[in-house]
């Protein structure tokens, strides 16, 4: 199954509005929400399609095939309003061995409605699609109808929903059965026949729409609870409209010392001549020590550690990032060198856990107080193993996946990497140094 989504760039505005809306709901109040354009998401899902001819008490099972279908829905809707969505389906190669003369066909899609990540609450089918112009559906051809077909999704019980969706709710539309109905044909045996395609996977949402709060245009600031010497009743209410703004933060990287000793080399820091020795432990957040070895008779590996990198992203948006590294050649104090390709990296990259999520603004290595790992967006992936520094090394890539609560790609991530130096046989004795540049973009 694959999915592609094209969203409107006003995402940050919608996000801020949603956060604001959620905050206000806690107060029992409402806020103004930004208007939201439509998003279109195309999913490729397996469908079982069947041609049904009820007047013949017969059907033709066309088997299961993958079809790319598109759900279009607005990013947000004001509380109380219906969502105007659409669901498009490609033509179905029914390949019937007979023609359907003088046929008109219309599309009849069904979408399933649920709260984000939840179970289906109800389904909506529309029969309002426009029929095709009258014509013969040739034998061995495909069947289709004009699209997209607009579907009105209710968000209140008064309009047909099974529940009232409160401000802050995230309504997902899941593609359901899609039917092409032969609404007219001169062959009475085929009148009312359909091609019905039923998804075999019902878990993937095609769209997500946020329910925005709608503040009163003229909030009430005074009222009378009782008139005269009376008591009881429903009382009276005034209103407070609360506002809050969330500003964008930063995308940062910060390194912290990794003190794991190397393997394959020793601590030569006590040596001063004929070649100055090197420790096999990193002393600070900007130095990688690979230790000391004797010029080998055959290529020899030293495995050290890059200093730990914490990437923090609180931009409050929906952008990914990448962390990569390049290296200069190793050069010795007497003009000797080792090619940068002798060093490889095997990185790891993961969402930070409580206790290792460090505050990049703190003076030292300080865990973020109250850090909630469940709010970190998924989608961070390490680069491949044993990447040579002959080129750019991919340490970590964060894609566009969002956290389902924050609706951002933000989070704190920990990147580590083993670095392996393969010392060539008979390498000239010297103390070598190279500079690695790590880029977050």
């Amino acid at each position: 199954m694959t999915a592609t989504t094209a969203r409107h760039p006003h995402r940050l505005g919608r996000l801020a509005a949603t956060v604001l809306s959620t905050a206000v709901v806690a107060l029992g109040l409402s806020v103004v929400a930004a208007a939201s354009p439509a998003q279109a998401s195309t999913l490729t899902l397996p469908y079982l399609c069947t041609f049904n001819a009820p007047n013949l008490a017969a059907s033709y099972d066309l088997g299961i095939s993958n079809y790319p279908v598109t759900i279009t829905a607005p990013d947000s809707v004001n509380a109380g309003n219906s969502i105007t969505a659409s669901y498009s389906f490609p033509s179905v190669p029914a390949n019937l061995p007979f023609a359907i003369p003088d046929a008109q066909v219309r599309a009849e899609p069904t979408v399933s409605v649920r709260l984000q990540g939840g179970s289906a609450l109800f389904a909506v089918t529309t029969t309002s699609g426009s029929p095709s112009s009258t014509g013969t559906i040739a034998a061995y051809s495909s069947i289709t109808a004009p699209q997209p077909v607009s579907i009105s999704i209710p968000t209140t019980t008064a309009s047909g929903a099974t529940q009232n969706f409160e401000p802050g709710a995230k309504i997902e539309l899941v593609p359901g059965t899609f039917t092409y109905v032969v609404v007219a044909t001169s062959d009475s045996d085929l009148s009312g026949s359909t091609v019905t395609c039923t998804p075999q996977s019902t878990t993937t949402a095609g769209s997500k729409t946020f329910v925005n709060g709608v503040p009163p245009a003229n909030p009430t600031s005074q009222c009378v609870a009782q008139a005269g010497d009376t008591t009881g009743g429903s009382g009276c209410a005034t209103q407070q409209v609360a506002y809050v703004s969330i500003l964008q933060g930063n995308l940062t990287q910060r390194t912290y010392t990794n003190t794991t000793a190397t393997t394959g080399s020793t601590d030569g820091s006590a040596l001063g001549s004929p070649v100055q020795g090197t420790s096999n432990v990193n002393p600070n957040a900007t130095t990688v020590n690979l230790g000391t070895v004797t010029s080998p008779l055959a290529p020899a590996s030293i495995v050290g550690n890059l200093n730990d990198i914490t990437v923090s992203d609180n931009r409050g948006g929906t952008s990914g990032w990448s962390l990569s590294a390049v290296l200069t050649n190793f050069t010795g104090s007497t003009g000797k060198s080792m090619n940068k390709s002798t060093l490889t990296a095997t990185p790891t990259c993961a969402a930070a856990t409580v206790g290792e999520a460090y505050d990049y603004t703190a003076p030292g290595k300080t865990a973020i107080s109250g850090f909630d790992a469940s709010l970190v967006a998924p989608g961070a992936a390490a680069g491949s193993s044993a990447q040579s520094f002959s080129g750019t090394v991919a340490l970590c890539t964060k894609d566009g996946q969002q956290n389902s609560t924050t609706d951002t790609t933000g989070g704190v991530y920990t990147v580590r990497s083993l670095v392996t130096l393969t010392v060539p046989a008979f390498q000239a004795a010297d103390r070598y140094v190279a500079t690695m540049t790590i880029t977050l973009a």
Partner: protein, 268 residues
């Protein structure tokens, strides 16, 4: 509408009757399977002959029962499918699969039908716990309609044969030809240069599924064979009910038979 369709089919059968006497109990099979009725209902109509259905009990004749068919495009799906009944809807459910001469699947050659035995139609529910398929191949765990199915088959102890279906197809196809076409035909049932063969009966699916010829030639005579699978409900108790009450046929497609008779394609 369904009544009109059946009237048309009866008329088609009558055309065949004028050319050659129909076998007793033969169903009014379509003479072409490139029509909606022919393609979608060929096996449903064949079921009438196989189980000796009392057509007066069918919906189109004012009765309560109906024969519904599901055709399958995919052969492996068809293999998974089983003939069955829907007791609440009073439907006999047949399945079908068409094999083609050509890679583009436009020239039909052979039709495989999965039908019910006549004797199964008044049998009841399977023993509790018996399996009944998976996914879209789930069937109702019942051999037949129980006592409601009494009399639905006029001869429940003796099923019709696949050969009868093929013979009716041969009769219908020959009857649909013009005098000129008959005069120049490569094979002529009137002089027995094309005949139907008795069924080759097997007892289990793996013996029925392998490829079979639609028409063969022996000594200058074209033969229309059929491989039948018959698994009655009175059989071995070790056989799962899912496989019982089945009467399957491989049948020549009328359009292929027409091309063979006219010499347009070689028997195969």
């Amino acid at each position: 509408m369904a009544l009109r369709r059946r009237s048309m089919l009866i008329a088609l059968g009558a055309i065949g009757l004028m050319a050659m006497p129909l076998l007793a109990g033969a169903a009014p099979l379509p003479s072409s399977t490139t029509t909606p009725t022919g393609f979608l209902r060929f096996c449903a109509e064949a079921q009438i002959t196989i189980a000796n259905i009392d057509t007066a009990k069918l919906v189109e004749n004012g009765g309560q029962f109906q024969i519904a068919n599901t055709a399958y495009r995919d052969e492996s799906d068809f293999v998974f499918s089983k003939s069955a009944v829907s007791t609440s809807a009073k439907k006999i459910l047949t399945t079908s699969y068409v094999q083609y001469e050509d890679g583009s699947s436009t020239a039909q050659k052979l039709i495989r039908c999965k039908m019910r035995t006549g004797e199964s139609l008044n049998k009841g529910a399977w023993p509790s716990g018996a399996g009944y398929g998976t996914g879209r191949f789930v069937v109702e765990p019942s051999w037949g309609f129980g006592s409601a199915g009494n009399g639905l088959s006029t001869s429940p102890n003796t099923d019709g044969t696949c050969q009868q279906i093929n013979q009716t197809t041969l009769t219908n196809v020959w009857g649909s030809l013009s005098s000129g076409q008959k005069a120049s035909a490569a094979y002529n049932p009137d002089n027995s240069t094309i005949v139907t063969d008795t069924d080759t009966v097997v007892g289990v699916g793996p013996s029925w599924t392998p490829p079979v010829a639609a028409v063969t030639v022996s000594g200058g005579i074209a033969h229309i064979p059929s491989r039948a699978l018959v698994a009655t409900t009175s059989g071995n108790a070790s056989v799962a009910p899912y496989f019982e009450g089945a009467h399957y046929c491989t049948l020549v497609a009328p359009d292929f038979l027409r091309r063979v008779i006219l010499g347009q394609v070689a028997p195969s």
